[in-house]
Amino acid sequence: MEPQLKKLIAGCCHGDLLAQRQLFDRYQSVLLVVCLRYARDRPEAQDMLQEAFLAIFRDLAQYTGLGSFEGWLRKVTVRAALQYLRRRNPLRFAEDYNELPAHTLDVHPDMEMNGEAILRLVQQLPDGYRTIFNMHCIESFSYSEIAAELGINESTVRSQYARACKQLRVLVEKLLSCPV
């Protein structure tokens, strides 16, 4: 680990607000993207980010220095996001979303096919789909890890993930077929 980062972490652990501000400046962008994927919209992602940083500063002393620091930050952020979602609306993973309500699908014809557009599509998925999709596809959690984290069956995780991908594929195809 680079010495400057080591110093920064030590400062944060000792309750130095200035060091915490520097850590925030350095990683807020990366972690906000993580939050944006778990949230339904930007204000919700902002709230998640705030909670994530509070959790990071609280648990930073537990970071042993093994493994990537950014990876550790992302993990804490995912946990904070999950907690936020649970608190706001206990996740209903057991529910079947065979068909998404039509009015929730918002694909604009002038939307370009880029990361921003895909993020919007992901944000439109129901909480359960979106969470499992992010955890498996982006954060590379295994099905069993997701099941343990969310307290649901592994088979439910598999089926929800498959459906999330299916729904996303439909949305992406719809987006690509829109006349520009």
Partner: protein
């Protein structure tokens, strides 16, 4: 790619797209985290320091123990008497080294090497606001977008010239920085006032930017007739904002007139910037602040009694600030409740029914707190419970009056309702239950035989005492309600966010500031001049309505569309540009002569004085370094730059609690903060902005 192995092509594609995203948190995110984190940091500090302190204490204890037992005297008596106060603690704390700042305090170099012929103002060389820098080919031009703000700069190909007018070729260095917060303005250190033929005014900024282009350290210029584009979005939709340009050499701001700007959207009058008042500017800042609070329309519905409300409110506030009056606890706990609630629910005490030993039917309501003071009318009397038909039907029913009447319990309220002669009904009640006990008033044997027992007279006295108590209660209630309702008229927008209980606590924590505020209102004549009070009230009502309308405008996007739109500026000069309102402080703000001294008595000779009014988010430089504004009731943070090159702070709380008199010379205590400030984040951390 290793971790992508288990994913299909589609998922891998989604992953790549989502991982490539870039986003920036809102500007106030850190402020919210910092506010929460400050409290938690105490725990972290304790956790960090505890092992050292415990370890050192242990070692010291062991040493003392060894010394005590192994010393030649060996008599178990401590060799020294009590510590001498002068020598016991010399200010050295062995763990201070652990608090060595983590950040290198050396001033940040901005990487610019101005042309040797250009002599710039001092702030240019000490400015620590981060700068974005890149290199481009002069004959190919540049398209640049600031990733954090989204603002853009476009320099056309072959549009640059040297100081002598010769066209520039080859690689050139481009630098761009933005000033978007109070912390940025402080770290930049540039002057923040504007002067024209009409006078000198303060700035209220909606953001600034600075563009520089150089080659080998020498400044470059736009060729005559050429312009570069800046796409700039102001930080707030401020009304009557205009663009200003800061000259590097004169260090003066000048207004950019309409002909210098093209395709500019959202400006009112480009030719003569409107001069606003500090109140208008503060209002704009309050409205553009996220989650701004706006008080509800006052309960003072009738205009006739406005002066009366104001008088009561100010007199109560003044007495409260002086410590001569305190809000009663029942009011403090229920500041948000309606008048109906107070009338019904707050007459409460702890009342037990005292029965006579030999017969339970004889009783007297004993008010243990003395709240229902009218019961004193029944001195030397008692009540005899008469039969109740419901009890005869079901005497052991738990809902019967008889059953409840005999229970040992506390009631909250008691009322005696006279019926006929000595007959009456004694009503006991609490939050859940109410019983009516049919009774007869009787005279106690202690009353003596000399007096005539006249139940009607006793009941009349009871009613009289009861109505006096009611009137006192209502008067107290009215006084404090009027104080709370009128307080919003004299509060800062920040204070509007407090509920009644928070406001009372805040008031008590800032008594000196409140005393200054209410004394000023009293001196203004609002208490004794009903027409002035009435006018002030009407102005306040208008302002409240305007605030509500503005809020509607904002939420419907009308205002933000018109005034917070990105501007497309076509500019011909490099340097610093500012999107600002200009304003002047209201006439009431008197100037005082200010002197500054540090804790150890060192006098400071100010070379620049900067002011931050956090409540209104105003930031400005004082044109005169030896004078200061006297604004009672406002928390101004004053930052003084001394001629010794050091930075001093007069915190807002200290300013607010200073008893400043107009026309006086006042010496303020300041703190040397030089080592703690420099970069925007350090300023933000110091001032909590």
């Amino acid at each position: 790619m290793e971790k992508d192995k288990h994913l299909h092509d589609f998922e891998q594609y989604m992953r790549r797209q989502l991982e490539g995203l870039d986003a920036q948190a809102e500007e106030d995110t850190w402020a919210k985290i910092a506010a929460e984190q400050r409290k938690r940091n105490t725990r972290l500090v304790v956790r960090y320091r505890a092992p050292y302190i415990l370890g050192m204490t242990g070692v010291l204890a062991l040493l003392l123990f060894a010394w005590y037992w192994l010393s030649p005297s060996g008599n178990g008596v401590l060799p020294y008497g009590p510590y001498d106060a002068d020598t016991a603690y010399n200010g050295f704390f062995p763990f201070d080294t652990a608090w060595t700042p983590l950040i290198n305090k050396a001033p940040e170099r901005n990487g610019l090497h101005p042309h040797p012929k250009v002599v710039r103002a001092a702030w240019f060389y000490t400015n620590t606001v981060p700068m974005h820098q890149l290199r481009f080919e002069a004959d190919r031009g540049l398209r640049y977008r600031n990733p954090s703000s989204g603002n853009t700069v476009e320099i056309p190909p072959s549009a640059l010239v040297y100081a002598d007018g010769a066209p520039v070729t080859g690689p050139v260095d481009f630098s761009f920085r933005e000033y978007r917060s109070l912390a940025d303005f402080l770290a930049a250190g540039m002057p923040m006032h504007y002067t024209d033929a009409r006078g000198s005014f303060y700035f209220n900024s909606a953001g600034m930017f600075e563009v520089r282009v150089s080659q080998d350290g020498a400044d470059l210029y736009m060729a005559p007739g050429k312009k570069y584009n800046v796409g700039f979005t102001p930080t707030a939709p401020l009304r009557d904002a205009n663009m200003f340009y800061l000259s590097d050499t004169t260090n003066q701001w000048s207004h950019l007139h309409g002909q210098l700007l093209a395709d500019t959207i959202g400006f009112g009058d480009l030719n003569s910037p409107r001069i606003l008042t500090d109140a208008e500017v503060a209002l704009d800042n309050a409205l553009t602040k996220p989650n701004a609070c706006i008080p509800g329309l006052s309960e003072v519905k009738s205009e006739e009694n406005a002066a009366e409300w104001m008088r009561d409110g100010i007199l109560t506030g003044r007495a409260y600030a002086r410590g001569a009056m305190q809000p009663p606890m029942w009011f403090r706990k229920n500041t948000d409740k309606s008048e109906g609630f107070f009338l019904k629910a707050l007459e409460r005490s702890d009342i037990r029914i005292v029965h006579q030993k030999d017969t339970k039917e004889r009783f007297f309501p004993d008010d243990m707190n003395g709240t229902f003071s009218e019961l004193s009318a029944f001195k030397a009397c008692f009540f005899v419970r008469t039969a109740d038909s419901s009890d005869q039907l079901a005497p052991k029913n738990k809902n019967s009056v008889d059953y409840i009447f005999r229970q040992k319990r506390m009631w909250r309220r008691v009322e005696v309702v006279p019926l006929n002669g000595a007959l009456c009904e004694v009503i006991f009640s609490d939050e859940k239950e109410e019983i009516h006990v049919p009774s007869r008033l009787a005279r106690s044997s202690e009353a003596g035989g000399g007096t005539v027992f006249d139940p009607n007279q006793i009941f009349a006295e009871y009613k009289r005492l009861r109505s006096i108590r009611h009137a006192n209660y209502m008067e107290t209630l009215q006084r404090w309600r009027r104080f709370l309702r009128t307080a919003t008229m004299f509060q800062t927008p920040e204070e509007w966010c407090m509920d009644g209980q928070e406001w009372l606590s805040y008031f008590e924590d800032n008594r000196n500031m409140m005393l200054a505020r209410y004394e000023a209102l009293y001196d203004e004549g609002l208490v004794n001049d009903p027409s002035m009070a009435h006018n002030r009230f009407e102005t306040w009502q208008q302002r409240l309505k305007q605030l509500q309308f503005d809020r509607v405008d904002q939420s419907s996007g009308l205002r933000s569309n018109a005034q917070n739109m990105a501007m497309s500026l076509k500019l011909s000069g490099f340097g610093t540009y500012n999107c600002d309102q200009i304003f002047k402080i209201s006439k009431q703000a008197a100037q005082i002569t200010a002197q500054y001294k540090t804790e150890n008595g060192k006098s400071i000779v100010p070379v620049a004085v900067r002011i931050i009014d956090r409540a209104t988010r105003l930031f400005f430089f004082l044109p005169n370094n030896t004078s200061l504004l006297n604004l009672p009731g406002r928390q101004l943070d004053v930052i003084v730059q001394g001629n010794d090159g050091r930075t001093y702070l007069l915190p807002g709380k200290v300013y607010a609690n200073s008893k400043i008199e107009n026309g006086s010379i006042y010496t303020f205590p300041v703190e040397d903060v030089t080592e703690r400030v420099g970069t925007p984040s350090e300023w933000a951390a110091l001032l909590g902005i």
